[in-house]
């Protein structure tokens, strides 16, 4: 749509600007302040320059949690996206079942995040949980509170359970926008179901899938509550993701300098991702 140039439109945006600025800029400046200062208590602060940034970037602990974070994010993307597309393709196209499917599938998305963690905790506990009992009954030695491998399995299954529906919903919305005539034309040409998927359905889903992938990428990078309730980062440090580690440093040890430096590095990563997201989305809109 062609837009009119009107600089007075700033007044329409002003309330939003003031509220978000209060919430975003003041806390961000607090973090910046902490990140360049050293304190020995009593609210006495000294200039420390880039000391904390160097410390964080060099620390093995940060590398380890960043590595775990990347492993988590890429694992869930590799599972959720193909699975979501497959389910969307198999869903009914019309009738009462569409609504039933959509409502049931969207349920996990509306559960408070700590309840998601709690649900999976009691579902997977080896002695009293249904999943734990089932796996142990099959002769698999499963205990997610003791074995790191099992903890990872549970963590990833939980995220797949929680968020695959998002991919399904978006992919389904993309599929629903394909006119019936396309399929009829494909039928006349005698196209195989693979050809229909590759040349009709996939291109139509490209835009929504971009949104799905990037949303999942960024949100999984921010994940905190669910793994915190499920495993608390354990056993040991084996499932300590980036934000869990950050909260441990900031609120647990009250190391404000390193925590602030870590926050800023973390935030820059997110900012970069958001920029990629925005550019891709706007490019899609122009086409």
């Amino acid at each position: 749509m062609d837009k009119t140039a009107n600089h007075k439109a700033w007044f329409f945006v002003l309330p939003v600007l003031m509220l978000v600025a209060f919430n975003a800029i003041i806390p961000l400046m607090t973090v910046v302040n902490y990140s360049v200062q050293e304190t020995f208590g009593d609210n006495n602060f000294f200039w420390a320059g880039v000391l904390w940034f160097e410390e964080v970037l060099r620390s093995e602990r940060f590398h380890a949690s960043l590595g775990r974070q990347l492993f988590f994010t890429f694992s869930i993307l590799a599972i959720e996206v193909p699975l979501g597309v497959a389910i969307a393709l198999a869903m009914p196209r019309k009738g009462i079942w569409v609504s039933v499917c959509l409502v049931l599938m969207a349920m996990p998305l509306l559960i408070p995040w700590n309840v998601v963690g709690a649900i999976w905790n009691i579902f997977a506990l080896p002695n009293i949980g249904l999943l734990g009992q089932m796996l142990n009954g099959l002769g698999i030695d499963y205990n997610f509170t003791r074995q790191p491998g099992d903890a990872w399995f549970t963590l990833i299954t939980m995220d797949v359970w929680h968020w695959t529906s998002l991919v399904v919903l978006l992919a389904y919305a993309g599929l629903a926008s394909i006119p019936e005539a396309y399929y009829q034309a494909a039928k006349i040409d005698g196209a195989s179901s693979w050809a229909i998927f590759r040349y009709i359905q996939l291109p139509k889903m490209k835009r929504v899938l971009t949104i799905a992938v990037l949303l999942r990428f960024m949100d999984s990078f921010n994940i905190y509550t669910e793994p915190f309730v499920l495993t608390g980062g354990g056993p040991g440090n084996s499932t300590t993701l980036l934000s869990i580690d950050l909260v441990k440093v900031a609120l647990g040890q009250f190391d404000l300098g390193p925590a602030a430096a870590m926050s800023l590095i973390y935030f820059l990563v997110i900012l970069l991702l958001s920029w990629v997201f925005y550019t891709l989305m706007m490019r899609g809109e122009e086409q």
């Binding site: 600089h7 993309g174 949104i211 909260v247």
Partner: protein
Amino acid sequence: MKRYSWLVPTLYILFLMLPIYWLVSMSFKTTNEILGSFSLFPREFTLDNYRKIFTDPTWYMGYVNSIIYVTINTVISVTVALPAAYAFSRYRFLGDKHLFFWLLTNRMAPAAVFALPFFQLYSATGLFDTHFAVALAHTLFNIPLAVWILEGFMSGVPKQLDETAYVDGYSFPAFFIKIFIPTIAAGIGVAAFFCFMFSWVELLLAKTLTAVHAKPIAATMTRTASSSGYELGLLAAAGTLTIVPGAIVIYFVRNYIAKGFALGRV
């Protein structure tokens, strides 16, 4: 192959429902039964867990608190987002694209980064432990979300509507309230739903900004899990009750939910 394709969504829904079933069934069990033996169905069916939640103020006030701040947040977010989304969808102005991008970065900001400075900011302004504090804090990610969703819906309304209204002699506020808002009512509903939902599911900030008076139900649950032994039945009942509001409202937006998640851009 086509004939069996219904199996895929069915199996998937089964996988989704299994943990929820376990939660609900546990909420009807006694603590003894949960810890003592393994059973697929509650053997000694009990409503005690629910009775405790509905009679103990520290429990049911958690729900009241959550609903209060979620409602305040939804009202604020949608109200201020409406004119902003209109500006983004209709006008070109200095720095509009940068501003739009900046809003998006706040939707993506990790709550863990903001937890400590938020605590200090809201303590300093005297808002700590009020419903308003949580409502205001959640606007950080809900206003950008509402602006994006509403902008998506508004861009679908042809500009001729605005122009015709001016020709007919409507002033801008009259046009906006009497004609434009009813036209995008569906979009407002979806934006409100998503604000409701993201404020409802968020816990980290809500927990950081409250102590007693505005403590959300989700935070009450974490306290029970850690301190007063392990009252799993009670925890399960409280968890079940947090699913109910979402399950009810989702029915009304079922056809728009994908559009909302795509930030109004399907």
